[in-house]
């Protein structure tokens, strides 16, 4: 039993970083195993492929972290929102809009859609139901408007989506930048601090003059920006979109976030961890593809890994918090 009221604690910081350290250690262990059994694993091409694969899920998981931190659980409209961004971006560019303008409009539009959900959630209603309903509505409306067809950029091809900058794929670069920006936002700014505190205890936050409404809306704004980026990136790479884009994104992003160790109840976690979670899953996935795992094998291993990691992280946190 870990019940003592007086166990000496080490300085909190170490324990804050420990779960992350463990994920990294596990990922490293995974890489070592992978290298041993897969000769082509450590090639530049494969590493780049892993990073690329982790990018979109990573951006979304990072974008959702403030929402989870603030005690608003997760969105169940992830795939639909990203799809909305992708379809809009491709449609606008295909309609002859200049790309920067299209990007601004898409980001702004997604923020509007996100803030609408955020405003409802901020009144105290359950985010899971709200986003579940919002996702169904977004999907229905977009499918209706596009007539279920493929939206294309047509004559206005966008090349940069799969380009590289200095050898680094553009989506990896954006993933990196976005992670750093959101991490700094969460750890170094007042808004970030308030987000975590609201998630840790909403009532105390209110007494301390922290507005739940403001924090929730901010979290939905960051979420929307991240999803807009994900949608635009994929739009710019594929030059086409349908209302069925991003079929698995919702589950993948939530899994990445949880594997990263952000507490689902809020008040604990960081965007950096979510990014780590996305990378970790990408490494496992790549390892299995390279070793010719069957569809079932891949899913079973991935699911097993998710279960194992979240249980491990949970136990670690429990050891730290329960006294």
């Amino acid at each position: 039993m870990r019940l003592s009221g007086a166990v000496r604690l080490p300085e909190g910081r170490v324990w804050d970083w420990l779960p992350l350290a463990i994920i990294i250690a596990l990922a490293l262990a995974g890489i070592i195993v992978a290298v041993i059994i897969t000769p082509s694993f450590l090639t530049v091409d494969n590493i780049r492929a892993i990073l690329r694969n982790a990018s979109i899920v990573g951006i979304v998981a990072v974008a959702m972290t403030p929402m989870t931190l603030s005690g608003n659980f997760v969105s169940l409209a992830i795939g639909q929102s990203a799809m909305l961004a992708m379809v809009c971006f491709v449609a606008l560019v295909g309609d002859g809009w200049p790309q920067p303008l299209a990007i601004i409009v898409v980001v702004a539009g997604l923020i509007v859609v996100g803030v609408m959900q955020g405003a409802i959630v901020a009144t105290g209603l359950n985010p899971i139901i709200i986003t579940l309903a919002a996702g169904a509505i977004i999907f229905g409306v977009v499918t209706e408007i596009t007539g279920a067809g493929i939206v294309r950029t047509g004559d206005y091809l966008i090349g940069w989506g799969s380009g590289t900058v200095g050898g680094i794929p553009i989506q990896v670069l954006i993933f990196l930048i976005f992670t750093v920006v959101v991490s700094i936002l969460m750890s170094r700014t007042v808004l970030g601090r308030e987000t975590t505190l609201v998630g840790a205890n909403r009532a105390t936050a209110r007494i301390s003059g922290i507005s739940f409404t403001r924090v929730t809306i901010l979290a939905f704004v960051i979420f929307s920006v991240g999803l807009a980026i994900a949608g635009i990136l994929n739009g710019a790479a594929f030059n086409q979109a349908t209302s069925r884009s991003f079929p698995n994104l919702t589950i993948d992003a939530i899994a990445a976030l949880l594997v990263g160790g952000t507490a689902i109840q809020g008040g604990h976690g960081s965007p950096l961890r979510s990014a780590g979670g996305a990378l970790f899953i990408a490494v496992i996935s790549s390892m299995m593809v390279l070793n010719d795992f069957s569809t079932g094998g891949r899913l079973a291993v991935q699911g097993g890994v998710v279960v194992a990691v979240v249980v491990l992280l949970h136990e670690l946190r429990r050891r730290r918090e329960v006294r």
């Binding site: 601090r193 009532a203 105390t204």
Partner: protein
């Protein structure tokens, strides 16, 4: 009552009955902390034994061992003269031990009847509502709740009713050793009466009671004997009649309590806070108050008396219906907590765990939560300035500065409360509002908190304390206002009050305006 009389109090005159509970040389260690160091403890049949001690003295560890939540490292336990093993809790329950927790263990969504059988042994696997309700009615009658419909969801009950329901539940188990862990902490005086009456009745029936509390007056009204724990060790039990408040406190602290309430300073002439005709939900009549720099104004009354409503309204948590409030000559907007906070109103709530601290977050973040904007520029937190300032506060409140990175939830209740109060220092508040500032806080930390509040006063801050603990109000305040059923009854300087007068006014037992009060109630 001499000791001999107490021992035979509820019994039939036998001279040496076996102890209901005998604990010898019990020890328990958590990590490198010796929570219990070879303590002895005894409980006679039909006896109410008060268990006193500061937080961390080992009371709750003993309660946990007796109730079977943890296992002792060494020592023996006997029940009715026979060696007993009380771990795990199922065995403890089978031996007739039952605990009334500080936090209620009723489920608000279930009915009273269901709560009564929840978790009980010997209840058939299939529940027939009719039978259940009939059984519940019998049990409720035993604790003076015969007027309750057993089908009522518990969430509609008052706090005292829940507490009594809790007791009723234990009676189902035919518990012979009842442990009350601060049962009255959240109750106002009148409700306490009901609970104490029930406890007296239980002991008269021959049940033994261990009564854990921080409230000394109750001890003398209820307990036959008193056991004091200090630093994991036990002092021999003493008959309650031999003791008085000062003696008990001396036993708990191991020193005389001369410094519990710090000396008062002198007051300025100009009021800092003017409250004129304030009316809010929970208040029947407008309230007017003055708080001077360096003054502590104590508001006291039972639950629902309006004392809390005044504080909450001033804090911006309860929108006012009428009235004008001025702070330092400027009108104070009470529309939102954000607005009052900006004007320099600090507010410490009654329920620390619920809305006083961020249990999972580090102490430093807790301390800086209300003033983090002040150590940031353009939204960027300066980690250095935050650290410096939180260290200052921690040092002032005797919080271990090396542990500022640890989660607040890991601290003892007293230290948590120090964080909950201390964080407001960083906001350079003009007025500090506190509700029940020392609920569930051990006496050592209590004295420290009182001292800090006085220190703040000498720095020119005005303080408003709402508390149902009349001795606290009397010892701490410069000016005291009494509240009853939504009305402020009287406001006078502290030296014009006596504890007796205060209690009587809060209980409202005087003859004045009973009709009025009756109206308000209806």
């Amino acid at each position: 009552m001499p000791e001999e009389a107490a021992s035979t109090g509820g019994l039939n005159g036998e001279t040496a009955p076996p102890l209901r509970l005998g604990v010898r040389r019990l020890s328990k260690r958590y990590g490198n902390v010796q929570a219990l160091d070879s303590i002895d403890f005894e409980l006679r049949p039909g006896e109410v034994m008060a268990l006193l001690g500061e937080n961390g003295a080992g009371k709750s560890t003993l309660v946990k061992i007796v109730s079977g939540l943890v296992q002792a490292d060494s020592g023996t336990i006997e029940i009715d003269g026979k060696p007993a093993s009380l771990y795990p809790s199922a065995r403890s329950q089978a031996a007739g031990v039952a605990v009334v927790h500080q936090e209620y263990s009723s489920v608000p969504t279930l009915s009273v009847a269901e709560n009564l059988v929840l978790g009980q042994k010997g209840i058939p696997p299939i529940w027939l509502p009719r039978e259940l309700n009939a059984r519940a009615r019998r049990l409720l009658a035993g604790v003076g709740l015969d007027y309750l419909d057993p089908r009522t969801p518990v969430e509609r009950l008052s706090v005292a009713e829940m507490q009594l329901l809790e007791v009723a539940r234990l009676l189902v188990r035919d518990a012979r050793i009842l442990i009350f862990d601060e049962p009255t902490a959240a109750l106002a005086d009148r409700e306490i009466e009901r609970v104490l009456a029930v406890i007296k009745r239980l002991s008269a029936e021959g049940r033994s009671v261990i009564y854990v509390t921080h409230r000394l007056p109750e001890v003398f009204r209820l307990a036959h004997r008193v056991t004091v724990f200090r630093n994991g060790q036990s002092l021999p039990p003493r008959s309650a009649d031999e003791l008085d408040v000062d003696a008990v406190i001396a036993m708990m602290l191991g020193r005389e309590l001369g410094t519990m309430f710090p000396a008062r300073g002198s007051l300025a002439d100009e009021p800092l806070l003017r409250v004129d005709g304030l009316l809010a939900e929970g208040l029947e009549e407008p309230v007017s108050l003055r708080v001077h720099p360096g003054e502590i104004v104590g508001l006291t009354g039972q639950l629902g008396s309006g004392a809390s409503a005044v504080v909450q309204s001033l804090a911006g948590m309860l929108p006012p219906l009428a009235g004008r409030v001025e702070l330092k000559g400027v009108e104070l907007s009470l529309r939102s907590r954000v607005a009052t906070l900006k004007s320099g109103v600090a507010y410490c709530t009654a329920d620390r765990k619920k809305d006083g601290i961020f249990a999972g977050r580090p102490i430093r973040e807790n301390l800086s939560s209300p003033w983090v904007r002040a150590v940031s520029s353009a939204g960027w937190i300066s980690g250095r300035r935050e650290r410096i300032r939180s260290r200052e506060i921690a040092a002032e409140f005797a919080i271990d500065v090396k542990r500022l990175g640890a989660a607040v939830g890991a601290l003892s209740g007293g230290n948590q409360q120090k964080v909950a109060v201390g964080k407001w220092l960083g906001t350079a508040p003009g007025v500090i509002l506190l509700e029940e500032p020392t609920r569930g806080v051990d006496i050592g930390a209590r004295a420290e908190i009182y001292q800090r509040l006085r220190d703040l006063c000498s720095a020119g801050v005005g303080i408003v304390v709402a508390s149902s603990d009349t001795s606290e109000i009397l010892g701490l305040s410069d000016t005291i206002a009494t509240f009853y059923r939504g009305r402020m009854i009287r406001i006078l300087p502290h030296d014009e009050w006596t504890e007796d007068a205060l209690v009587r006014e809060v209980m409202h037992q005087e003859d004045e305006a009973p009709a009025e009060a009756g109206e308000a109630a209806s």
